[in-house]
Subunit: 410 residues, 4 copies
């Protein structure tokens, strides 16, 4: 999810098969309908919001929804319309500054502000911007486009899907940190029941292959497919439940330094952490803020919104561990991915043979490959069709606001 | 302006003539029309805003406009309607938490947030709240009310007027720190021309009296009127202009530590300050953000948005000084107050004989009387009739966002 | 005490009678013996120290003792020997950087460090430096010296006396924040018994004069003597005792926001303050760290090491207040100053008629006259003969490490 | 090096073969002479220091030398003498607090301080402490000791060796951040010439084994030996030189974001980094602070004191990368380790099959295995015989003060 910067830079690619050898979308008609579908989803996600909800940024990791809507639009304007459409008239030159995710080129007259301090452009103006760009894109897609542009287009759509997940998680954070605890809607989007019984799937020692292969889009961090040697291991068939995690809490998991990384223990103590994000003990009853508002804790749902420190502390308390990303990927066909991003015990690092593309494309490769940890699978907030077995999500180890969960290994 | 806390506590007073012996408003009809007039002004100030402008809080000193609208309403609900109207039904108990300016009594279930992180209640809900409370207040004011309640009511109206000034300064900050530099309106509210010639008004040595006297409302920090002994001094008939201040800048005033307090010099260096707030050097031309947008610097207008460090550095560069608050007050009848709050060289301290009222009222007296400096006069943003010669405004010495200016003395 | 910067700059004065019209020391012999006596006291203060004690700086306000020894020496080298002794050979040019109290002129090769990070020069080298400079000074003082130089010399000696007080307070801080609580010596330097009975001294309303007058040295902040108008007041004949202050603590003074300035209450809460500096509740017994080590709290000694917030909170709890500096000075002949610096309710501001000397001298005048509060009297750590009735000491309102105390007024 | 905490906990082990099956030291005589030898080296390292050098802590990662001397002694007292010698009399119970590297059990009367704020115990007392404990240890080692105790003893000796390296790096930091740039001694301890020609060692694709095997001591993070699958790669026969790194600097390496991790670029910009630690551009000449003082930059020496961000930025600039720790270990027999700790591109993670010992021992396992990166090899400051091919050193990615270097791979 933090790979947005990486993505944007790549889109400047001028030639070559960046992400996969063969594009799964073959013709312009497909592209137009795919484009419309993806763009529409972003607006649908925002439909239940009040205008005020689009504006705020309670913490630095959470962007205002209107920023997501503008930024994803800016991507198409900047990397397709402006370079490839001759007579394209930029919607508003100042938007480049407002919706660029980087601020390297800030001019002397511009005052730096945080995203959540921007009351303008208004939500209405952002929607105007979207529709203006959409119209130009749809006119453009009627024509024949090169493979290069197809690549950028695919990238833009995957980019927008990543922001769709962030829209959900950021909206949840904004509403869930409001003292009135307003609901987003009443659909119970997050609800997933775990089966009662956990099974242990055994994998033999040996050489396996991981990484993307096949047709279709992938990110470069999934490349290239390569061999790994795995020791024998067992991996759980389902995610850890709230009930199991509550047991960790009630037996003193947050008060016992033995289960925690040194850095995690510092985090617990200096922030006074006693439970996952969004859990509230109200009159001796555990309630959880969800997108449909405050709910009683459901013991059968997977524990969610825990960070890497919490995931590993829980595993240590159980006398187990998290799987590595290779272990996860090798076993992934044997279990149903739960609807949570699953923390692995793997740092986010380049795959062997990870090579840099020529030119500007490759300049930013791997820029996030330090001090972040890999998550695998997908969450209830992930757009349909966006993830896959080889997909590598990554976040800092202290972050909780994504829909994260725990799968154990031993 | 920071005396709001002080004010609120005082309003719990149960008896006695807190602020002045005789109320200038004698009957309920007067109160009702005064109440309506004051309340209406707050809403008028916000009329040019977009909904998004009501929500943001770019820095801690700047509150979101919707918070001001809610907080001033909460004041009347909390200190008049709830204690004195038997069958009053609170609009929303959660609003007590949202709009209370203190957070001492935060319950276990409430997550602390900054005001600018609150998308809810919406602007529409806040207006509902205002009108609900206004209706109840107007019904209440038909009846006979005690002097105690009159006192609280007067206090509430003066409190709201203080927030009206903050609405202007906070809106200016919000718009002036947006990279699109949107205008508030096109009225040129801030425009004031200074006369060309400055005259020096001489005051003789001797005993003078300062402090509030007469009928009508005053704050307790203006009491009691008392004698002071002044040395002979001269005070300027007008405020320092942009032209004069620009001269300070171009001759290196912000680079020469000799003019600055040690603490002010630290502030200049660590923040890279080179000009007053809202000044922008664009293509070698000084522009200033005002409520009607970016404007060319007008040399004849009074320099504005400077803090105490800047005011004293400018005075030192001129070989002069700021007046004390006693010097200002004694001479005030001899000049026209400029339309800026004028920094004095007086710390905000209790007047001799400053006494505490009995009971809860007096508990908070003087709680802001440390490390703040006095400003006298009034600004373009001050509500009509709100200030007076004995009025003592006060802020921390580093703050710039009020409409502040400089009057010299020697 | 923080006026050192001010002092040093002033010493560059080239002519005129900076501090007083007539020097009380008339001839060189007097100067030499006065010089030797003052310089000797600094070394005597350090005699009980271990080498390690000379080096550390537990907080930014506390300088390592070896720094004080070097800095006071650097003063004489920089402002007398280097400008006035033709063939003087600087001890070590790098010491200018190490012992200058300002760092404006740091060259490119020098790494910024805090004073407590400097293991070199060693203590032995610092003493060599002192003796080298003392020898040069004593040779110089055999000759006739101008009034200008006499002025600087007097200033240097008063400067060193100020650092002698800081040596005591900084040594106490260093030892008192060591978990072994080592004693400085066994002399009970701090012990002062307060008389049992407090008397209230009444002063009539009227015009009084304050400020320095007479022969001898004074700092410019004591000038000029001027008239003030005082309301009638009463001032206590003795300082508040530990017993009285303990009563404030045990009745909940540190838990009740009503007694505190808003800023003081923030300080109490965010630092978890429950008692004055150096007080420790050990096994339900109050012990106090003093220069002779941990001692049982002596109820009859004056409460010490409280900051302005604590002093005013205590006064508010008593229903009283602190005197202003004018009230203190006018009444000072009627009580024995206690052996603690006494917080007043006066901000540190220029006296009326405070004028700047010409040239470099005046450049720094008043640079500390913002956000500091005045203390009057003297403490057990003040060098004999250093203070006087008109002396104005000043510190930030949050600082506790000086030997401060409370005298009440009403 | 940061594994000290881990180490200490392990030493509480009561039974079993913690670190290796067979101890290479078979009898008590060997142990006594080994003990004496190791302990003696620590004191030898400190011999050139002035007392003042033992005391300071310029940054949090750098401990005062006297703390290292005390802490390593406390280890033997706490984990051998106190549990296993019946009549052992603790040297000073307060030292447990001063020299414990953890502060979990701080009692109510103890004030928390940083290590560099402690002037006491004095250096002399710390040496008394060392000799007192050494005497007791040597008496104890005359007797037969169990394998458990042997294990702890071995651990204590390896622990002390780790602190010997820290003594060097911390002393260098203390002296190198002093504006007088004092030399430690004149031996040129750091001097290592790199051969001119770099060769590329090629390793074939396939399955390899890494991890400790054989007799003798190892840390648990080197266990267990296990298979890894490596892609074909080339690794450099020597470290990157100052000359090569200088080329990176002069061609703008520190100004070009393309070479840096996003997090590394933040570090460069917010700290204004332009060269490795200890490099100073003085009059257009590069000088480097070494243990023998400031020296001209020697182009043939290995670049040193760079952090992981710098190592990877340099590699990116060369179009190469760092080796993984497995690649390093597999190839290590084919090159001479340079005298610098070599950054790898591997996060510090548990090896497959990493198991926790029973009881208290295992409680802390892996507590540092997050957000740290692995370094391999050894440095000029590493005690002889301390490292080995399977040794895993680890530090945070921003730290520069160890003797770190760069070996390239591709």
């Amino acid at each position: 999810m933090k790979s947005i910067g990486e993505i944007e830079k790549k889109s400047r690619s001028k030639g070559g098969h960046l992400f996969s050898e063969k594009l799964s979308i073959k013709n312009n008609t497909d592209f137009t309908s795919k484009y419309k579908a993806v763009r529409n989803i972003s607006e649908n996600i925002c439909r239940p919001l009040k205008i005020e909800d689009y504006v705020v940024q309670p913490v630095v990791d959470v962007s205002p929804p209107k920023w997501h809507l503008g930024h994803t639009t800016w991507f198409f304007e900047t990397f397709i319309l402006k370079p490839y459409v001759n007579d394209y008239k930029e919607f508003n030159p100042d938007f480049n500054f407002v919706f660029n995710s980087y601020y390297e080129s800030v001019g002397a007259r511009v005052i730096r502000t945080d995203r959540g301090n921007l009351s303008r452009p208004t939500v209405e103006e952002v929607y105007h911007y979207r529709h203006y760009v959409d119209e130009a894109m749809e006119s453009f897609l009627v024509q024949d486009i090169t493979d290069d542009i197809k690549n950028i287009l695919l990238l833009g759509l995957n980019h927008e899907q990543q922001h769709q997940e962030l829209l959900y998680t950021d909206i949840k954070f904004i509403l869930g940190h409001n003292p009135l605890f307003p609901a987003y809607n009443d659909k119970g989007i997050e609800d997933v029941q775990m089966q009662n019984n956990n099974e242990w799937i055994s994998i033999d020692e040996g050489i396996y292959e991981i990484g993307f292969e096949g047709e279709g889009f992938c990110f470069d961090n999934e490349l290239h497919r390569h061999k790994v040697y795995l020791q024998p291991y067992k991996i759980s068939s389902r995610l850890v439940t709230n009930e199991e995690y509550l047991n960790f809490i009630t037996t003193g998991g947050y008060e016992d330094f033995r289960y925690w990384h040194s850095e995690g223990w510092e985090w617990v103590k200096s922030n006074g952490i006693k439970s996952p994000l969004y859990w509230h003990l109200i009159n001796d009853n555990w309630e959880v803020f969800t997108l449909k508002g405050l709910q009683n804790l459901d013991p059968k749902q997977p524990v969610t919104h825990i960070n890497y420190y919490e995931a590993t502390a829980f595993a240590a308390w159980k006398g187990m561990r998290l799987p590595t990303e290779a272990e996860w990927e090798v076993a992934a066909s044997k279990f149903r991915w739960g609807k949570r991003w699953e923390w692995t015990d793997s740092a986010y690092l380049p795959y062997p043979g990870f090579t840099k593309a020529e030119g500007a494309i490759g300049e930013y490769n791997g820029k996030f490959m330090v001090n972040q940890w890999v998550l695998r699978g997908a969450s209830v907030a992930t757009s349909e069709g966006h993830s896959r077995t080889s997909y590598r999500n990554f976040f800092q180890t202290n972050l909780q606001w994504q829909f994260t969960g725990i799968r154990l290994a031993q």
